[in-house]
């Protein structure tokens, strides 16, 4: 799956891919202040399973945990399950339903599930559907943090670590052979990284077509821009 980071305080974005085996669970957010944790499990295309280089991977499951509320929300491409203490509620992506309690709300429709906690912390999980009988591609999920400034700056995880300002500079812009892919050098976290200008799609507002977002692509699983290496973010379970 690819990650797009709209850097706080800058009108620019960084993006990177994480290439891991299907089934791997990645820690996306861990916020010790709010008690929120978000993990995502990777799925892969059905085709070319022997050739991992050509295989595309996506988010197939998202697990959202709110420890103080004893609430776990599991979103898969099939269903949305709320574990509220011992009680469990299951909804389908065909449902249009709003679940509200004093402390959280979950809005589900055929395109997205929006989970909101307290004072404006909102996550949006988008269902990307492919043709039902497609022999290779699978339905997959997109995960977005809306109003990330409501999350604490103590957050960690592949997304969470970017909830605080990040200083970076880009220099040595080199058009290369393909004018749409400018190569450059990024100075970030005391690393000099070779980056490429690219475009990714943000589906928050337009679930079907998305909106083009220009970003600096960091190679090698985001190495250098993320704290540590990507394997540091692999966890054993969705919850």
């Amino acid at each position: 799956p690819h990650f797009i980071i709209q850097v706080r305080g800058k009108k620019d974005a960084i993006c990177f891919n994480i290439d891991e085996e299907p089934g791997t669970v990645l820690r996306l957010i861990q916020d010790p202040i709010t008690g929120l944790t978000v993990n995502g499990q990777i799925i892969g295309d059905q085709g070319n399973s022997s050739n991992s280089k050509n295989r595309k991977t996506y988010l197939g499951k998202v697990g959202i945990v709110n420890s103080p509320m004893d609430l776990r929300i599991e979103v898969t491409t099939e269903k949305i399950t709320l574990h509220n203490g011992a009680a469990q509620s299951t909804f389908s992506w065909l449902d249009t339903v709003t679940v509200t309690s004093e402390r959280f709300s979950v809005k589900i429709n055929r395109e997205a599930t929006v989970v909101s906690f307290g004072k404006g912390i909102t996550f949006k999980v988008i269902l990307h559907q492919v043709w039902k009988k497609h022999h290779i591609h699978l339905h997959f999920l997109g995960f977005y943090v809306l109003d990330s400034d409501k999350m604490s700056t103590k957050s960690h995880g592949l997304l969470g670590q970017f909830f605080r300002p990040l200083a970076f500079q880009v220099s040595d812009l080199n058009p290369g052979n393909d004018p749409s892919k400018i190569h450059a050098t990024m100075l970030v976290k005391k690393h000099r990284l070779a980056v490429t200008r690219g475009y990714q799609k943000d589906y928050r507002k337009d679930v079907h077509n998305g909106t083009q977002v220009g970003c600096w692509f960091v190679h090698n699983n985001g190495q250098g821009v993320i704290d540590g290496v990507h394997s540091d973010y692999i966890v054993s379970d969705l919850f």
Binding site: L82, N84, G85, A87, Q88, S89, T90, F91, S92, L94, D95, T96, V97, T98, V99, T100, S101, N109
Partner: protein, 604 residues
């Protein structure tokens, strides 16, 4: 069933039961053809047992190719015509209650020597979902072997069929089993039962039939989405049955009649049922038992949680329930209600829980406040619309109308418990129906000014395995979109389910089902509206009652339904004998004998 006194003279050569179900609405036609082989006129009687919840919509008699159609008339008008015919010694038909679920339609007609007669009875009903399935019940009881006997059931469900089964209580061997076929795929289901003459024989050389018993079809639909809205010709129906929600904890008070009349089997069966129910109570539930005879005794002073220790103690209490004294319904109920109210006020039960009163009684109040109207007033005021009351009437010696009124005006319903070997299972079965509330205070909302003539759209509870059905009429038939919201309180959260329908797309999708019957939603709406008006009427007085009666009567006549307010009359005007048949709907009402004697049987 068709027979005469000497069965050999009347040959029943064909009996066909054709059922077409579209979106739970069943349209059934029972056709029997017979010929009089005697050399003199014979009286032939035709009887069909149909569900109590069904409305007869047509009955025709065809003799030697001439058809006499039925006309639905206001009951009083039909009665006068009927009395006149009977006073002249003419034959007549009638409907009476038969057993737990059925009522019997019977009609007799004189058939000339060598003549053929065809009876065709049509009835309709809305199949209700109970414990996760719809059930269609047919009684099969031909009086002789029938050359051409068949039951054909076609089911069309736009949501798709998830399971379909057909069981016949009389199928005892593989041979007869081969006469039964059942299949379903996508939106369509089919059941066929066509036993040959040999398959109908009770033994290879016997001349009598083994077809005698219940034929039950059960099915359910796919629930990919919690709701389904269908709109045809400006009428809509909205089915709502969410799944996958946690059960709302219950605070349940059992108000049990232990008066002397419960002596013997009744009290034993009550104890058995309560012991079984105790096994099913969940630990998060709260409960208590209120026993009433001349006085009231309670198991505990307050509601207690269904912990394993309390359940064990409750079992001991139930085992020691003994009959005694008279029947003080008023104090029994008020004690239970007050206990529930107090528990809520003092926050001794969970905030997100729901309360239920279940009363079991076998008789009328005869001590303390025994005036039914006053008891109703007291109970209504004590409950104040906060929770439902369910009444279980045990046996026949009771004022069931009172129990029904009492339950209906407190958002519950009444159920008869038949005094039989399975009474304990009936009690337990009832409890299972209400044991799992998934939502409380359910309200179905539609855009203002967009709909008319809505059926009931608020419910105290939605129980797992059931279904809420709301129907109505669109103000503007040409509208493009239709939106409905269902709001309810769940075990831990509030939920709002939204259903949006693109009318153009729906029109296209529903075109394929026109082969069944296109006006089914309008008839379903009429059926549901009449049923609810009749229920409301039970507790209405004065001008309100007159108004409800007038509305129900108007719809019954317009849609040709035989309801408790109408009768269907079939006459042979050109026949010198001026024979006449009548189809009626018995209610639970106490029967008033008519001033002039005629042969009419009614009531339960």
């Amino acid at each position: 069933n068709v027979l005469d006194e000497k069965a050999d003279d009347i040959e029943v050569y064909s009996t066909k039961v054709s059922c077409k179900v579209t979106s739970r609405f069943a349209h059934n036609v029972v056709t029997t053809r017979a010929v009089n082989r005697a050399d003199a006129a014979k009286e032939v009687s035709f009887d069909v047992e149909l569900p109590k919840t069904a409305f007869i919509t047509n009955f025709t008699l065809t003799i030697d190719g001439v058809t006499y159609p039925g006309n639905v008339k206001e009951k009083e008008v039909a009665k006068k015509q009927y009395e006149k015919a009977v006073s002249q010694g003419k034959t007549a038909g009638l409907v009476k209650a038969s057993g737990r679920k059925l009522e019997k339609f019977t009609v007799s007609v004189n058939v000339a020597a060598g003549s053929k007669v065809t009876f065709e009875l049509t009835y309709e009903e809305l199949l209700k979902r109970n414990k996760g399935k719809y059930e269609m019940y047919l009684k099969v009881q031909p009086k002789q072997l029938v050359k051409d006997f068949e039951i054909e059931v076609d089911i069309f469900e736009p949501q798709g069929i998830s399971m379909l089964d057909a069981q016949a209580s009389f199928i005892t061997n593989d041979l007869l089993g081969s006469a039964l076929s059942k299949s379903f795929s996508g939106k369509k289901g089919h059941v066929s039962f066509k036993p040959s003459l040999d398959q109908q024989r009770s033994c290879p050389t016997c001349g009598d039939t083994l077809l005698n018993g219940d034929f039950i079809i059960t099915y359910d639909v796919n629930r990919e989405s919690p709701a389904n809205v269908q709109i045809v010709n400006g009428y809509f129906v909205h089915f709502f049955a969410p799944q996958g929600l946690p059960v709302v904890p219950k605070n349940v008070v059992f108000v049990i009649d232990i008066s002397g009349s419960m002596y013997g089997r009744k009290i034993e069966q009550t104890r058995d049922a309560l012991l079984k129910i105790l096994e099913d109570i969940k630990e998060e539930d709260y409960l208590n038992f209120i026993l009433f005879d001349s006085d009231v005794t309670t198991w505990k002073d307050t509601l207690v949680q269904a912990t394993p220790e309390n359940i064990q103690e409750a079992r001991e209490f139930v085992k020691n329930i003994r009959d005694r004294g008279m029947t003080n319904i008023n104090d029994g109920l008020l004690t239970g209600i007050s206990m529930l109210n107090k528990a809520r006020e003092e926050h001794t039960v969970p905030e997100r829980s729901t309360s239920i009163v279940i009363m079991l009684t076998d008789g009328d109040a005869n001590v303390g406040e025994s005036r039914p109207a006053k008891i109703q007033e007291n109970v209504l005021s004590a409950i104040g619309g906060r929770f439902p009351l369910y009444n279980l009437g045990f046996g026949n010696n009771l004022n069931y109308n009172f129990l029904e009124s009492l339950a209906l005006e407190n958002d519950g319903f009444a159920r008869r418990i038949y005094e039989d070997s399975d009474a304990n299972l009936q009690l337990q079965g009832f409890y299972e129906e209400v044991a799992n509330p998934l939502l409380t205070s359910v309200e179905v909302e539609y855009p203002e000014n967009a709909i008319l003539d809505l059926t009931r759209n608020t419910y105290q509870h939605f129980y797992d395995g059931s279904e809420i059905v709301v129907a109505g009429r669109l103000v503007d038939e040409d509208m493009n979109n239709f939106k409905a919201d269902v709001k309810g309180h769940g075990a831990l959260t509030d939920l709002t389910f939204t259903e949006e329908v693109d009318l153009k797309e729906m029109e296209k999708a529903l075109q394929e089902q026109d082969y069944i019957f296109g006006s089914y939603i309008e008839r379903l709406w009429a059926y549901l509206t009449i049923e609810q008006l009749l229920d409301k009427r039970k507790n209405a007085h004065g001008s309100e009652k007159e108004n409800l009666t007038a509305q129900a009567l108007d719809l019954s006549l317009k849609y040709h339904f035989v309801t408790p307010l109408t009768s269907m009359v079939v006459t042979k005007p050109e026949d010198s004998d001026n024979q006449m048949a009548i189809a009626d709907k018995p209610g639970e009402a106490s029967y008033q004998p008519p001033s002039s004697p005629y042969y009419y049987v009614d009531g339960d």
